[in-house]
């Protein structure tokens, strides 16, 4: 299985786009070596703005750049991009629907060492709540590349959530990324797992495991949290005995909330796998943290088994 680092892919794609489109400008809040906007900075210093450690100003400044026709990408860790700049995103960008792209890097628990202050468990919820906002969570490097390109084609505000670590390729290179459309990753009959981000590969591993016990599990990559094609979600849940949602995010306001809302009234039982309304904490490595918060393929396996009445 091939692994790619989504932030590296993001930085490289931004650089490619910078070559193709002179209107792209990039803003950074002193994390360029981590968010990988450093690649763009080296090639296009005149279109790169180091804004210092001032996310609020960076975000409104990006709004100003977009008002002169630029496609502005702001960059920081997800917790600051979505949290610290919420009002700036809401007021000057989303109300008028400006063409600003907010990129939240080191999202979820992926900045494992830095603890609760640097781990975003609620960024998707905050961004989804704002009218006019589009919220994207790539499952792997392949999808990250396609999303960044699509963000430039799309005229309007977008929030992109990027993980810090290498992720296995789970999506297909050939398939086009369409904003709003969930992607079928693995066919299955009995259950469906709607997953986002790193949990897509974990859901796939769970499906493999369950197949050994003749439990057939469909895996769907919900990489557009907003907007979402409700008809596709409904279709993908057709005929199953149960649903599991899986996300590296609070179960409030992310995949679990969205899927339960779309499938309200369907009567299909649902178990959410996600962060249970708590903050992150420091750990010596990422996996240790993912285990502590039950963000594992085992957690998905257990949820499916519970739905199957075997546990």
């Amino acid at each position: 299985m091939k692994f790619q680092n989504p932030r590296q892919v993001y930085g490289e794609t931004l650089l490619e786009l910078g070559r193709e489109n002179k209107n792209i400008v990039v803003l950074e809040a002193d994390l360029g070596k981590s968010t990988m906007t450093v690649l763009f900075e080296q090639q296009f210093p005149e279109r790169f703005f180091e804004m210092g450690i001032g996310e609020a100003n960076m975000t409104s400044f990006a709004a100003g750049l977009s008002l002169t026709g630029k496609i502005a990408f702001t960059n920081s860790f997800a917790v600051f991009a979505a949290g610290r700049s919420f009002d700036q995103i809401r007021q000057a960008i989303c109300i008028p629907g400006l063409n600003v792209k907010i990129v939240g890097s080191s999202a979820g628990l992926s900045d494992f060492g830095d603890g609760a202050t640097h781990q975003s468990v609620e960024d998707v919820a905050i961004m989804c709540a704002i009218p006019n906002m589009t919220v994207l969570v790539p499952a792997d490097g392949i999808e990250t590349r396609k999303m960044v390109r699509k963000m430039v084609e799309y005229d309007g505000p977008v929030y992109l959530r990027i993980n810090r670590h290498d992720l296995p390729d789970v999506t297909s290179e050939a398939e086009e990324f369409v904003i709003g459309k969930p992607g079928l990753i693995r066919e299955g009959r009995d259950f469906v797992v709607f997953a986002s981000g790193i949990m897509v590969s974990r859901a796939l591993a769970a499906a493999e495991e369950l197949a050994k016990e003749n439990i057939s599990v469909r895996v769907v990559n919900v990489s557009s949290l907003k907007p979402v094609d409700e008809e596709s979600i409904k279709k993908l849940a057709e005929g199953v005995k149960g649903i599991v949602t899986a996300e590296e995010h609070s179960i409030i306001g992310g995949v679990a909330s969205m899927i339960s809302f779309v499938l309200r009234g369907s009567g299909i039982p649902l178990i959410p796998v996600g962060i249970d309304d708590r903050f992150g904490q420091s750990a010596h490595n990422y996996n240790e943290l993912l285990e502590e918060y039950d963000l594992t393929s085992d957690a998905v396996v257990n949820a499916v088994k519970k739905l199957n009445g075997k546990k």
Partner: protein, 272 residues
């Protein structure tokens, strides 16, 4: 346009502000009236703009960071011909073009959405930087309030403007000395203004914000200063032009009685 004509325009804009506030409805009268001369000079003397073509690429830009003073901008835009003057009667009505705070999606001539204080200066900086990338000669004008600068983001933007040497940016600080709940010096003192802005790397002017000739002359002097952002600290009177409202904090966002409305109209009509 002459100074005498600009004085008349300022009075007309004040009258339109009073009409928009109306009777028995809350409206940001004080901080709109303190800006009448500055806004008159910008829209009717200084700025390159075309009311018939609001998106003209070469235009100068105007961002009202203290967005609650929207009424003065609406009065100027209507007077300049961006939309029919009759529209001001509908201000803040459900579905109206003229919202409580500037909205670029509904009102021709509004350049950006402001109202959450402290953000407009950052937006103006971004516009100045964007215009510079495109090698445009357009200038960016921005107005902040002396109460507004309590917002920390103003000082983030102040650092950005001097770091990036945004010399196509011209900021007015409406020093009307009153915030919503009382005098700035008593409630939350943002002084000393001149020293603060100098320390942040700006060229600072200190003027009478109701003296049209001085506003014109200062803008001209400011244009000669390169590699620095410029701020004009404009000493103004909140509620200026309406005797009973001058220097009264209650008219920050207050209501007018029928008698007050008529008295204000009579006073302003005299100048015209």
């Amino acid at each position: 346009m002459t100074v005498t004509e600009l004085k008349k325009i300022a009075a007309t804009l004040r009258l339109d502000i009073v009409k928009m506030v109306g009777v028995g409805q809350k409206g940001h009268l004080g901080g709109s009236c303190s800006l009448s001369e500055i806004v008159s000079v910008l829209y009717f003397y200084k700025m390159k703009h075309d009311p018939k073509n609001p998106k003209w690429q070469e235009r100068d830009r105007f961002i009202l960071s203290k967005g609650h003073a929207a009424l003065i901008q609406y009065a100027a835009l209507a007077e300049a011909g961006y939309f029919p003057k009759a529209e001001i009667e509908n201000v803040k009505k459900l579905g109206a073009m003229l919202q409580g705070h500037p909205d670029m999606t509904t009102t021709p001539g509004i350049e950006g959405n402001t109202g959450s204080l402290g953000q407009g200066l950052s937006m103006a900086c971004g516009m100045a930087a964007g215009l510079r990338i495109d090698k445009k000669s357009s200038k960016v004008y921005c107005i902040v309030g002396d109460g507004e600068i309590a917002e920390g983001q103003i000082w983030e933007a102040a650092m950005t403007a001097s770091y990036y040497k945004l010399d196509n940016l011209y900021v007015f600080l409406d020093m009307n000395r009153l915030m919503a709940t009382g005098p700035v010096v008593e409630r939350y003192d943002t002084n000393p203004l001149i020293d603060k802005w100098k320390a942040f790397g700006w060229h600072v002017f200190d003027i009478d914000g109701h003296n049209i000739q001085e506003i014109i002359d200062t803008l001209e002097k400011a244009e000669a200063i390169k590699d620095k952002p410029k701020i004009i600290i404009a000493r103004t009177i909140k509620g200026k032009g309406i005797s009973f409202a001058e220097n009264v904090a209650a008219f920050h966002n207050g209501e007018l009685t029928k008698e007050q409305f008529e008295s204000a109209c009579a006073e302003l009509n005299k100048i015209n």
